[in-house]
Subunit: 205 residues, 2 copies
């Protein structure tokens, strides 16, 4: 028989699973039909649950949207912090972070696109908080670029603009990558690492 | 006294001017308040014109949105065709096109953002037509990259993915450039040309 502790643990896992499924299905409806045209009734119907079930997780549709919009950047920030905490050269940390974050963009493509489209529909405070996270991401990348430049590994122009462009290079994948299409996730990630490194590697005349 | 021909010419210019002002103000409202929350009454009010005046240019709000969404990519395609038609090396044509298109993105930033956000609200046929234009843009860039690679000027991995990334590098400017902010349009354009060239320039070990 499971211990009380194991039972609690399983309950947590089930709750997290339900929450994730809710986000997935809501995001899928927002992606296909737009946020404004999607009702919580439609989300409930898709999941074969009741609306009170949804309300036990989210106060309203806006809270659901905020969480969906935040997923990509939150995971990206965590991946960035992880990559920065690794030892090794600035190049190897840049490679690690582009690798991780490009995978996150590919795996969360629908969430990223919903964020790009529906930012306008976020509660202004949520919108600001998520924008701050993106800004923090770019600042940390810029700091890494400056460190690499000081050490002679990188040759860059403006570090902040280059960081914006590297973030953009990765984020833009969500606009052209097609699951099951011409290129595998690995090909897309390798391509992105290659271009990011070219953006910072010293050029020899 | 102006000739009949001069009068006709002026009439055309005035009509084009009115059309442009209409697009600007409508786009501004879509940008600030979202497409769905913006009425044609609000557009008319902002321009101090009547709704029938708007209807003399556009059948409905959807037609206005389609024209707004199309502006950036249409001008970009024209700039691309112009750049490709210039003589010179593949590098010099790539530089020219990044230069022109980056300026277009900066000058039409609001239109580009409205397109990114409101693509979902386009008539499906308009959405497809504009997506086809974007695809044509990327294909032509890929062809130029392949030409440069064959001639030894460029060293690239997959030409199509690299073209997608170069388009993304330029388009992404609309997400971080701030008019009157830290960087001038020229700085942003020069930065973008520099990174695009690094993406394709042969690396020497």
């Amino acid at each position: 028989m499971p211990t009380a502790r194991e039972t609690r643990q399983l309950k947590h896992e089930v709750a997290a699973f339900k929450r994730r499924r809710l986000l997935e299905e809501a995001s899928h409806l927002f992606f296909s039909n737009g946020y404004e045209s999607t009702t919580l009734d439609a989300v409930a119907e898709r999941l074969h649950v009741t609306k009170p079930f949804i309300y036990s997780y989210y106060k309203n549709k806006g809270e659901l949207l905020a969480e969906i919009c935040q997923i990509g950047i939150q995971q990206s920030l965590e991946a960035l912090d992880w990559a920065l905490a690794q030892g090794g050269s600035a190049s190897s940390r840049l490679k690690l972070l582009v690798d991780k974050v490009a995978h996150i963009i590919i795996e969360n493509q629908e969430y990223i696109v919903v964020y790009q489209r529906e930012e306008k529909n976020l509660d202004p405070e949520d919108a600001r908080r998520i924008r701050d996270m993106r800004h923090r991401f770019d600042l940390k990348v810029a700091t890494l670029l400056e460190e690499g430049a000081r050490g002679g590994e990188f040759e860059i122009g403006d570090a902040a603009m280059t960081a914006n462009s590297i973030s953009g290079l990765i984020s833009w994948i969500s606009n052209w990558y097609r699951p099951g299409g011409k290129w595998s996730p690995t090909e897309v990630v390798m391509h992105t690492i290659g271009l990011a490194m070219r953006m910072v590697t010293p050029t020899r005349a």
